[in-house]
């Protein structure tokens, strides 16, 4: 049986600007989709297409104007914040600004562990942290006890992933996790997400503007444009035989090492 982790129904975010002459803009308009257990779903779109708005609404960092988000059969409004974040976690585009430069990198991990396992003694906490860091391919001796500016973008992003794993989430929201990471460290993060999906059965909502990465990683794809979904389906259907004009145009303009635009 394929278990449904999260279902999103008619999610809408409306921004109103201006006091006298009001102008409405939609960050997201009528977005509905679902994510199944152990699946990577990609949200693809150009900048301003509302991908990040959707992510922030699912992470409860932004209040939707309309629509429902249903996690494991229960509306997220019924969840307590704490309980909710044990199921859903996210990583963001800019690994550098995800760290408070005042503290060492351990701070984010301690924050997470004091939330979920506060009564465990310190030795046990250290063991859990080093185990989790091992999953993301890091060694505690190389990373812990350092300040964020002493580590590379790829390492920082993987520590954030480790932080998410401390919660044992069901759903991971990855909002452009690779776009500010060096080219040769990108593959590492992509492979890691794949591994998490295969081994731990974590579902991933992967948000990207890079079609190549979406093709490499995802099971299903949703293409967004100006806050609306224009096309959806299994990766190969969408990327190899796009139906929508916008998708066709988008795919035609992606630079690729496999073809030249003549």
């Amino acid at each position: 049986m394929v278990e449904e982790i999260i279902r999103i129904e008619n999610l809408t975010k409306r921004y109103i600007s201006g006091i006298i002459k009001q102008k409405e803009t939609y960050g997201a308009l009528d977005v509905s989709f679902d994510i199944k257990r152990g699946e990577i779903l990609s949200l693809v779109g150009e900048s301003g297409s509302g991908k990040s708005t959707v992510a922030n609404m699912i992470l409860r960092l932004l209040k939707p104007t309309m629509g429902n988000i249903i996690l494991l059969g229960k509306n997220i409004k019924e969840y307590k914040i704490k309980k909710y974040y044990e199921n859903v976690q996210g990583i963001f585009q800019d690994p550098y600004s995800s760290y408070n430069f005042f503290y060492k990198v351990d701070h984010v991990l301690n924050q997470a562990i004091s939330h979920s396992l506060s009564w465990v003694d310190i030795a046990e906490k250290e063991r859990i942290i080093s185990n989790t860091l091992e999953i993301v391919g890091l060694r505690g001796t190389e990373t812990l006890g350092r300040f964020p500016h002493q580590l590379s973008g790829g390492q920082l992003q993987r520590i954030l992933l480790a932080r998410c794993l401390l919660f044992k989430p069901r759903l991971l929201i990855a909002d452009e996790p690779t776009s500010m990471v060096d080219a040769c460290a990108r593959a590492e993060i992509l492979n890691l997400l794949k591994k998490l999906k295969d081994k731990s059965g974590i579902s991933v909502l992967f948000i990207t503007h890079d079609i190549g990465q979406a093709q490499y990683i995802s099971d299903r794809v949703i293409v967004m444009k100006k806050g609306e979904i224009v096309e959806r389906g299994p990766t190969n259907d969408v990327f190899l035989n796009p139906k929508n004009d916008y998708t066709q145009n988008l795919l035609a303009s992606v630079p690729s090492i496999y073809r030249k635009w003549a």
Partner: protein
């Protein structure tokens, strides 16, 4: 279900206490590391206060209004000598003892003033925008009102309205008028910090708003808060001296400040014959202010990441 998750279910919401003390200790360590220069200077100030406190407890120096005698006659209007380092005035009071007490009390006054105005600045500057919504609008409204208020005339006005003025009331009056600029600049910093990702990450660790504001935002504006503290300290001492000199300060004889010493000896002012009486409290005042100017200047190094040491 994994092992960790199991414990989680067995033991429901009951935690924290210990983590707050750990957090406080961490913040303190981080402050020590990052503000080395300022830390030394402020420690120096603390030592100075302790020395003054001890000195003023010595019986010979404990009463600024004691009339000294040489033999049988009162020692009035003496020039500086080995017995009276800064001379005496008409009432045979030792000027040195008066200044000793005045300096100590002025520093206390400054600290009180700075604490009050910094607290107000943090409250309205950090928590206002961080909580958002109506609290934000209200805090910025109050700040703006206080900002355009003509402060000094108003302080004089209130001080002259009151029949009996204790030093605490004067401190509250000065303290509650010297924060709006600080609240404004802290607020603008917090507004940019609020949008950073690490705030989102903390929110996803299910921390409360107040805790995020305290443990994530405040450390980042700490340089600013320390700066505000030092500037308010200087402002407090100088404003109090000005008010006291005009005779609008605390006129009881149990809390004399440098301004009070100046006011008390007003008839001597500018008389070259009694230079030791009117010039010495002024010099001490200038020295205190200079120390705080040095502390403020040392913040430039902390503000500018290029000159900050690499750690």
């Amino acid at each position: 279900m994994t092992f960790e998750k199991k414990i989680l279910l067995e033991k429901p919401e009951e935690q924290e206490r210990s983590s707050v003390s750990i957090m406080l200790r961490k913040v303190f360590q981080a402050i020590k590391l990052r503000y080395k220069t300022q830390f030394t200077l402020i420690m120096g100030l603390v030592v100075l206060v302790i020395i003054l406190e001890i000195l003023t407890k010595i019986p010979r120096l404990s009463d600024p209004f004691y009339s000294y005698k040489i033999g049988a006659s009162y020692a009035s209007n003496l020039p500086p000598s080995w017995d009276f380092w800064l001379g005496t005035d008409t009432g045979s009071h030792d000027i040195f003892v008066m200044i000793l007490h005045g300096t100590r009390n002025s520093i206390y006054f400054g600290i009180g003033c700075a604490l009050l105005s910094t607290t107000l600045a943090i409250l309205l500057g950090v928590f206002g925008p961080f909580v958002g919504g109506k609290a934000d609008t209200l805090s910025s409204f109050i700040t703006n009102i206080f900002m355009v208020f003509p402060q000094l005339p108003f302080i004089f006005f209130i001080a002259s309205l009151m029949k009996t003025r204790s030093w605490v009331t004067v401190m509250i009056i000065i303290g509650s008028f010297s924060w709006p600029w600080a609240a404004r600049s802290i607020r603008s910093q917090v507004l940019t910090l609020r949008e950073r990702n690490f705030i989102k990450v903390s929110k996803m660790s299910a921390l409360g708003n107040m805790r995020i504001a305290f443990s994530e935002v405040v450390p980042n504006v700490l340089t600013y808060i320390l700066l505000v503290f030092c500037i308010s300290f200087g402002i407090g001492i100088i404003t109090e001296a000005g008010i006291s000199m005009l005779g609008l300060g605390d006129q009881g004889q149990n809390f004399i400040t440098l301004g009070f010493v100046m006011w008390y000896h007003e008839p001597y002012n500018m008389s070259p014959h009694y230079y030791n009486i009117w010039i010495s409290p002024g010099i001490v005042l200038v020295l205190i202010y200079l120390v705080f100017f040095v502390i403020q200047s040392s913040f430039i190094n902390t503000f500018n990441p290029r000159t900050r040491e690499n750690k």
